[in-house]
Symmetry: C2
Subunit: 234 residues, 2 copies
């Protein structure tokens, strides 16, 4: 497993770097999804199942259908330390690279571009950036991604929109993960959705369980249509 | 509920500010516990039960015993936004104040001192700082607390020591919370403890459930003895 050590970008304008990266990815037809969440929200488990499903191997007919309909995916795993997540993705056969952020609590556009260059993404349909586990700082830095997605897991509680509003406002979609754990936690789904919509009325919300598969189809359909939109946007 | 808006301290040396605050608190006999964790690890629930138990109201004899043995506690709730946690603590009758960090992802010593001054802590035995929910940045800033405590909840996973080593290295004690959820998650307690001890051999580890009460006694005993040590340290 290749590990890339990154350092904070020294360029003046992160926003300009982000726009440059976004335009380059649009030319190449790759949609970058920036996944943000707390530590332990189940990003890697969600991603593993999503990649397996989107690559066409999910329903047991891996042959022609995979070649025909399957999407090519890649993952940039950003962490302060370790490479456990990248190894898990690697075992799925998806392109994966681990980047270390030199202690930094978020990824910026320059770091993202370096990681993507190092990995290479020619022919990739969907690239996922698994941002550093943190509900605060990543929301403040445009990474150059085409879409921002936040993951909130049921055990974290339904009050998170009240405490971390910017993260919900910065995201195009919210995945509410680990819904199989709903019976064991006091999580009020209606209250959570209401609080999120009050912050960001247009956000798409997908309650899912990567364990049981519940809700995965709607989330994956959204990814497919986001890719289609991305390629047709001017 | 009083809400204090704080801004990043402008003094040159956070470490010096931290030492100054620590010495002042030692003179007044108050031990400040800095509680750090991910968002949604159950800090407020743990704190609510801990305060109730330590104040002497836990076992149903709130009369003389409370006056005799009970500890006086106070809580400084630090969040980007909202005051839901401070309201919950307030309802317990403990002294509580909500501070907002102006978007900052951590508390520094100057901010902590301002919050404590605003709240007042004369006669308080244990003051808890509920730091911003974040496993990265708070570990890098000395708040002036006498003890650092990290909370890791079972749903977050046993791999967190691999990904956020500094947080475990900076903490005197680790509370592993929500152990009532162990049957529903793949959390290897032995592996977690082994990983934590590899980073920090002297750390004290307390697996607890604030819901069922399991393990709370050992954690609370540690707090009582930390207070005693704090007052006898020179």
């Amino acid at each position: 497993m290749k590990i890339i050590e990154l350092h904070e970008s020294v360029t003046a304008s992160n926003d300009r770097d982000a726009d440059t990266l976004r335009e380059e990815m649009r030319r190449k037809g790759t949609l970058l999804i920036n996944l943000m969440s707390s530590p332990g929200s189940g990003k890697t488990t969600l991603l593993s199942r999503t990649i397996r499903d989107l690559s066409g191997n999910a329903r047991g007919f891996a042959g022609n259908r995979a070649a025909e309909d399957g999407l090519k995916t890649a993952v940039l795993e950003a962490d302060i330390d370790s490479d456990v997540d990248a190894r898990q993705i690697d075992r799925l056969g998806a392109k994966a690279i681990q980047v270390h952020t030199d202690g930094m609590c978020h990824m910026d556009a320059g770091m993202t571009a370096s990681g993507l260059d190092e990995m290479g993404y020619e022919g990739i349909d969907l690239a996922f950036l698994e941002n550093v586990g943190n509900l605060i700082c990543p929301a403040e830095f445009d990474t150059g991604a085409g879409r921002n997605v936040m993951i909130l897991s049921v055990p974290e509680g339904d009050d998170k929109p009240l405490k971390y509003p910017l993260m919900f406002q910065s995201s195009d979609a919210l995945v509410i993960s680990k819904i199989d754990a709903l019976p064991y936690f006091d999580f009020d789904m209606d209250a959570c959705v209401r609080r999120v919509k009050a912050l960001h009325p247009a956000i798409r919300i997908f309650p899912v369980s990567a364990k049981t598969g519940e809700g995965m189809e709607a989330w994956e359909e959204w990814l497919r249509s986001a890719l289609c939109d991305w390629r047709s946007e001017s």
